[in-house]
Symmetry: C2
Subunit: 354 residues, 2 copies
């Protein structure tokens, strides 16, 4: 479909995007880091209790019911929580709000691909220090002058987690710029930097309901930070869009947060499967990072990753692969159910031994 | 709550926003143009049929089920529809995508307040031609060189509707820039410019589910345009945020669209109430525009609007008032149920006759 040249000169030019594969046939879908288990039973109940008649009213712009549930769960104040339509909305808004100094923002060269996109969108300069050869962040690279710092912990797609003292070193060396720790996968890893928000007024921690809370379909993410930073986020958000979180997302999200026991058991199952599959893959000759996420990042020294990716797809097993100089020999494999992982392992065994 | 000066220099500075009043007590709420009637019965059914277990999966990024329902309802192609989280998200994305020439975008001086905000957000220059003394757009003001045009039809908060030949004149004089007609209230007015999208490849029509479809709480808006422009919107959207429409919003929205009969009867009821209340207000000495929206825009030559606004609030009747040089003597009154409007009329009668 074409647009006339005269009109085109008015239009933003972006790389045409090809949406991720959403196969229609029955497949083993290990390509988007979704949770293989349903959300907490309370979500079903909250959904059943929703009254469609209430949809005629605008939702609470402050998402009070969800904010309160999160504040209680994490033992922080309601004024230390900001919620949004997935952590993507929260993170984009953080870029817009906090990376305004004109100095380059720092994030790793191998990391979540949207950081570059949001920086470009808002005209924010950035620099990308390289990970070391073990895919570890080099913290000293983040001690130079900057307009802000962001990194995922665990990082994506490497799955590597840095302990809190590492995060704290970066915070300590950057007291006057904002440091965002994107903890989309932290529940599968270890301690969250959220426990540092009272000590570091330059820290923002973001998390998502899409992974450990099995709620990718409802689009819920949130940030935790000092009340001052949360207030800045609210000012910017309300200045151009008052209502984003639907009534359904707010009450279902709150229900998911309230069931800690289910949450913990869900995470535990995935971690157990992850560790088992990691061992099995190593037996097959794969080299893996010490994954602390709900996915594995693996390469085989004797098999081309692009070819393995295609071969798995032929057998209806979908994993993730990038045509990329630095990580093109890796596969990112979401941790599914044990049954799904066994299908994957069987496929790989057949391919690698044929 | 304060943020240290050293951090503040990194942070975007915006006008602190005071969220709209969400009174906790029982009030007659005529201040945010919500629909007084519930959504179509099918929405309740769609909600009941949602399986919470599916929430673990990301939603369809193309919102296929909703896009198809809209395309069928409006008799256009699926490639002529773009959906988003309320028309606010759709409109903000249109600003970002289509107002890129560097030339000033044109919109009326009295209009939806977010146009200025989005222009400022994306660094888009703009000029605001004045409405005439009857709050009508002066179409010749939009024949000069520009980087795009946007206006609501009916306009807000004036409620004045321009016929399609007026809209077409503006389109005809601006073949090489994008013209956005924001039709949030058009279902209460008359013909939609959607019938022109096949003839004008520079036209974008936006609408919302928040008013005529009683779905403000689910956050659904959409654009209709030529396939080329829709593709541009998709490219920009997917380049920085793939998933925004929750699964719940997609299926409930589709259900709302499918019930034309309910939709038409809902709109008819509101229009009937609007016309009755308009007559009653005129009997009380109010001067009103020829409202074609689900709200009235009224002033009384002998009573200060700000005072009336406060007096109504004292009686738990909430309408909208702006401290503004040009429209500060007007009240914007949402059309509620007949019962709600009778409470309003009784209050006004008592105030005006005391």
């Amino acid at each position: 479909m074409t647009v006339r040249a005269e009109l085109l000169k008015n239009i933003r030019n972006v790389e045409p995007y090809v949406p991720g594969e959403q196969p229609q046939k029955r497949v083993v879908k290990l390509n988007t880091n979704e949770n293989p288990y349903p959300p907490a039973p309370g979500v079903k109940e909250a959904l059943a209790n929703l009254d469609a008649a209430d949809f005629r009213l605008y939702p609470d712009p402050a998402s009070g019911v969800l904010t309160r549930a999160l504040a209680e769960n994490y033992g922080v104040g309601e004024d230390q929580i900001f919620v949004g339509v997935g952590s993507d909305e929260v993170l984009a808004l953080c870029f817009l709000t906090f990376f305004n100094s004109g100095k380059p923002v720092l994030f790793p060269d191998i990391t979540y691909s949207f950081y570059k996109v949001w920086a470009a969108l808002y005209g924010i300069p950035y620099e990308c220090p390289e990970l070391d050869r073990n895919f570890r962040l080099v913290k000293e690279d983040y001690y130079r002058e900057n307009g802000g710092i962001i990194f995922p912990n665990p990082n994506a797609p490497t799955a590597v987690y840095e302990e809190l003292d590492f995060v704290e070193d970066i915070l300590h060396h950057n007291r006057d710029t904002i440091v965002i720790v994107d903890e989309a996968y932290v529940d599968f890893a270890g301690r969250s930097a959220a426990e540092l928000i009272d000590r570091y007024d330059n820290l923002i921690v973001t998390q998502t309901f899409s992974k450990s809370r099995s709620m990718a379909g409802m689009r819920i993410g949130f940030a935790m930070a000092s009340p001052g930073l949360i207030e800045c986020l609210n000012h910017v958000k309300y200045s151009f869009n008052s209502y984003t979180m639907s009534r359904a997302a707010q009450v279902c999200g709150a229900a998911a947060v309230k069931d800690r026991e289910y949450f913990e058991s869900n995470v535990r199952k995935i971690v157990t499967t992850r560790e088992r599959v990691k061992g099995e893959l190593e037996k097959l000759g794969f080299l893996l990072t010490d994954s602390r996420a709900n996915f594995l990042f693996a390469r085989h020294p004797e098999y081309d990753a692009g070819r393995l990716f295609e071969e798995l797809k032929e057998e209806n097993v979908y994993v993730r692969h990038w045509d990329d100089e630095k990580i093109g020999q890796y596969l990112r494999i979401t941790v599914g159910t044990d049954e799904e992982m066994n299908v994957l392992l069987d496929c790989l065994k057949r391919r690698l031994q044929s």
